[in-house]
Point group: C2
Chain length 222, copies 2
């Protein structure tokens, strides 16, 4: 395997949600490389139907943090209840994750940078819009850019995590950020240098559980 491949796989295999962030600023050149990574992402018809509002102003960040806190409290309360179904190490692990989520819920507005990803569905060919089931294809022209940004964060030593709860507050978010009528929000990504170890080991299903050969459910032999 090439050195380039190794570096790429190193970033991918250590990209984890980093939810405890220091308030220290992110230097402009680092931030610019993270945004450039997003800009390189492919999109349907190369239309790039997304924009990022980079919130660095403390007052703007605080307003967003104040919207996020109660949303997380509701979601987190339910997640704690669901956690009671778990036992042993799985439960302890989930508990530690939810502690970190609680921390982010309290401190979202103090992350030095919030990236608010916006999109315009008029510029998307959403081929699964009318199938009578949840549509996801529009996301195919947006979330590759988020993934690029997050991989760049790993490489730059910047903590990050993808949140979508603020879609519940889209009207208020559009108001705070001056987002035009035909643009919408699809993620808020807080960035900051990590309080703890930052990116590192991840826990994922093995390829064999996720990938099949020729028929759904059929073992893939590689």
């Amino acid at each position: 395997m090439s050195q380039e491949s190794l570096a790429l796989y190193q970033a991918m295999s250590t990209l984890r949600a980093v939810r405890r962030l220091r308030p220290d600023p992110i230097p402009d050149d680092v931030l610019k490389r993270i945004l450039q990574a997003a800009a390189w992402a492919p999109s349907g018809g190369n239309v790039q139907p997304w924009r990022i509002v980079v919130a660095r102003d403390p007052a703007i960040r605080q307003q967003i943090g104040d919207l996020y806190r109660p949303q997380w409290q509701v979601y987190g309360h339910n997640a704690r209840k669901a956690m009671e179904q778990l036992e042993g190490e799985a439960r302890a692990k989930r508990g530690r994750m939810l502690d970190a989520c609680d921390h982010l819920g309290e401190h979202m507005g103090r992350a030095p940078v919030l990236l608010i990803f916006c999109f315009n569905p008029k510029h998307m060919a959403i081929t699964d819009a009318d199938l009578g089931r949840a549509s996801v294809v529009g996301g195919g022209s947006v979330y590759p850019a988020l993934q690029n940004a997050m991989l760049a964060c790993v490489s730059e030593g910047v903590g990050c995590t993808l949140t979508t709860l603020l879609c519940y507050e889209e009207t208020a978010m559009k108001d705070i950020l001056g987002i035009p009528e035909d643009w919408y929000t699809c993620a808020v990504m807080p960035l900051g240098y990590p309080v703890g170890g930052g990116h590192g080991p991840i826990s994922r299903r093995p390829v064999e559980k996720l990938c099949f050969e020729n028929q759904f459910g059929q073992t893939l032999e590689l």
Copy 2:
């Protein structure tokens, strides 16, 4: 900038749609690394609500190719018409792109590997499901995996492109691949070694056109 960052940015900045693919097989170890890259991607609640059917059987690939051809013919016909609005180099460039799309439209089934990405919306928290506008958030738990797979392809020298037209043939696709009732399709990604130069230069808007400071539309100074 670190060597790791350079390698990562090299892959991101040369990931382009590669639509002319040789029928030569992809070695198992290469394919496994591409699938592992997908498996590393983050997803909401770490649920990984996606699966990949890896179609390598020629008969299965041909069936999928036969579904894709007429879908592309309709889409491509409209795209050629829209191209007539363009002039000069922009028009010539679009024409070359559509020629490559036509090639893929004819030969999709001859790519040695087709990755069919499936998802289950029951395992997703789709926070923008009820906002009265196109929903994309479900894609946030799937398309990061596709982006990882495509970046791995760059690094492995394997051509790829993300297609979503076969959502229009979802019922037939589910039948061909034995996809259960509560799982759906969100992309078909043909893989193969490139006929031409493969991945390489890309054309994207500059960061300054895509990213704003604090308010949508406000210049970001970095």
